[in-house]
Amino acid sequence: MPAKHRSAPRPSRRPADRTRPTVAGMERRRFLGYLIAAPTLAVGVKLTADSVLEANALPSPAPEVSEVYDLSDLLLDSTRATANLITVVVNEDGTVSFSIPRAESGQGITTTAAVLIAEEMGIDVSDVNVTLADARPELLFNQQTQGSASVISIYTPVRVAAALARGQLVEAAATILGDEAENLRTTGGRVLSTAGSSVPFAELATAAANSVTREAITELKPVDDFTVIGTDTRRDDVRAAVTGSKKYTMDLDVPDALPTMIARPPTIKGTVESVNNLDQVRTMPGVTDVVEISTDAEPGRGTTSSAVAVRARTFGQCIDAVNALDITWGGGNVDDESDETILEQLRAADAPANLPSPTPLDEVGGVVPLATDALGAVGPVEALEQEFVFYWRSNAAMEPNVAIADVRDGEAEVWTPSQIPIVTQSQLAQVLGMTPAQVTVHVPRGGGAFGRRLFSDAALDAARVSQEIGKPVRLMWHRADECRAGRVHPMCISRVKATYSPGLGEVVSFEQRQTSVATDYTESFGDMITSQAAKLPFANELTLSQTVFLLTASVPYDLGAIVFGYNEIFDFDRFATGSVRNLNNQDFRPAQELMVDQLAERLGKDPMDFRINRVEDERAKAVLEAVRDEGDWGRDLPEGVAQGVVVHNEYKGSVAVLAEVDTRPATAEREIRGATTGPRVRKVTVAVDVGLAINPLGLKAQMEGGVMTGISHVFTGSLHLRDGNFLEGSWDDYRYTRHWNAPPEIDVIVMPPSGDRPGGAGELAVGAATAAVACAYARAVGEMPTSFPIGHTKDVPFEVKKFVPPLPPSPTDGLTAYPTPSAAGPAFNPAS
């Protein structure tokens, strides 16, 4: 490591003794970062696998740094040193900029980052401008937005960068203000002296700039001093969102990138055999290009599928041209499959063997070892056994799959709201026959993601079309594509077997084995190496899925010997599947909690007490008690109305949901034109503990959204598979929660901080809400539902839209049809 890059920390900011103890004998943690050569103040920290390097891990100053923090390559020159840093810049106008290597699709991560920076630097949140970074392969696996891990992973690095920046501003201000740096404080974007004089960041941005890039060490503001973190902060883009000025991918002004849509096969992963009227369609009004493209998720992965793309002046003309195409289609990947055949195969699959379990009692393959000595004391046991079926679910967002691509002259420039831009970039390079360096991926803000944008489907489509025709394209999936070709949460069954001792009043064992249509986790989980391994023949995709299952599945209660099993049918890419918000827990937890209620009933216990007495985790207990008290558990309710409660631990957080469901005929059968009414969740109380809530207002929003999704999962939200494709062709067919289903009352309690670090929130509530609503429904009707959503019936309650031509034509009666829908099916009560 060249010595010139290892300049000593400036004395005025650094403790003389690097192991100086601080308050209460606690050693203050110190972190490494960089001051970056730039015209105004710029600082950076390296994002490593385990976030940011702690200086305290080092036994002595600089010389040993490289032993734990390999800078040998990075410090060859200052440009390279900054290559894999995330940076905070103080601009000449005193605002602060940060480009976050994450996606923002509504979960609020940019706002969270702004809060962290504002807290550490002493600047207003509104003066922090957070943008989304392009694909940056040098960040390796540190640029993905999934598993609700964003907040957890940026918490320390972003604060370290902000703290370094603050330190530099304070030093620069010390000279101007004629005061010791130690005496200065920062607030509202100014540095203040003890005497009361102050200087704004704007006047310090250049003075504090660095001419060489070098390491620096800083400490962080103590948790006890936080004034911004933990208070409600509105979204950074709320004004843009409500004025229509927020730019999503399809709103970007990219010259000549004309609207492009796709004619897709009538069955899943079908292929084009021939296009019979190409010339005719090419002359349709507005149409500029018609071209056949591969729609393989990746080249050489085994499944081939293709489609025909149309580029035109407007999307309306794309839709008309797509529908005018006369295409001879080859077969698809699953043409003989329907819900019934899948269910048969799921049931016929071997019961999954035991996975490593949270309790040590499962060493025997497949069976819980009931005949152990321990059972001598238990006396006679009784068993409960139940299979639960969960049908296909869509994770479609309101903004469809979208991408703009300009692939010309050996370069590709792509705009797409990817949750994992590095993988998008490398896949684009692969399908385009380029190196990743030739591919630029910009990440606009997304209109929802929910796991769907972990895949690069639209980006690959757009790039292929653009490369083929040599023109820029603005490609959007039609809503029908979203339903029929979009990635789904796979159908699965969950088999639960529990034994209990009536004599002891205790649960003796709890087994839960899930068998699912394979989930494609290849893009999304683990690092890219794991992904590659998952694609090998005879592969480990099963292992990958099982790993994901084990990383997320849990039983929060003491239920005796606990055993999990998970297996899959089919290859991982037979169906287009993927990670859907809250993964397995949207099935696993409701099945489990319904059985927990059954056990409570058999043992004569109140569902709330039963749970509170069996949670081991203190935080889980506290959130349960909070919803019990705030949600008025056990209050008098009319017949047909009931409460259900569950607790769930995940993403370093704990959430309890108490839901109240009204199944009385007057409610369930109420008529709203064109609406699927049915039972109504009247009231929901959520208590959530994520350790340290950075922005309670945003955290509550995530809980509320999770509740809405849970309601959909229980009652109406599903896809019907028939003869190789899904019948749903739009919203309304796919019955996600609507205003008429939403609970009129929802109360989210954010627990006081239980730790000094934040946990994830984006997915936390989904499985829990699904389970709580299911439990409440079961108690309200006095019968446990075993198939979800409850409204998933063989006879679909809507008119199935055509598969050929593939897109439903746009109506023409929009002037008279509002607010009555012109295309909705009849009202439908899922419980009837």
Binding site: V238, T314, A396, G446, I672, T709, S730, S810
Partner: protein, 158 residues
Amino acid sequence: MPPRTFKVNGRPVTVDIEDDVRLLWVLRDVLGITGPKYGCGINVCKACTSHINGRAFNPCSVPVSAIQPTDEVTTIEGLPDTVGADLHPMQEAWIDRDVPQCGYCQPGQIMAAVDLVKKVEADGGSITDDDIDEIRNMCACGTYSRIREAIKQGAENM
């Protein structure tokens, strides 16, 4: 296909496009007015909700030929001007309640809410939960409870 002239957000526009192209695409792809969003194209999701002569409608389902020269189309971008302010009270309420998550559905939600409140008030009533229950606008992020609060708040200031 003669050029068509009408008013959008208070300004006259002229477009030269086939008669049957739906207004949503004329707004977005021809005029570059991107506030109204595409969510379904068949008048079920209501993401594109805008106003024509002060009433809500869904431009994804209206051919441009159905728009008369005297018609005034208002998109979310033009909503504040209808009250001569920087923001419409409904937008203020939306900001105050921090309603949006991804925000994609929100222009449509706001345009639908303004119309609903006007309609209810024209009928001599004030907005109720039952009225709000009938709004068709989809939100896949699940912001419904904040929308409900914001509509009530916005209605008070309209």
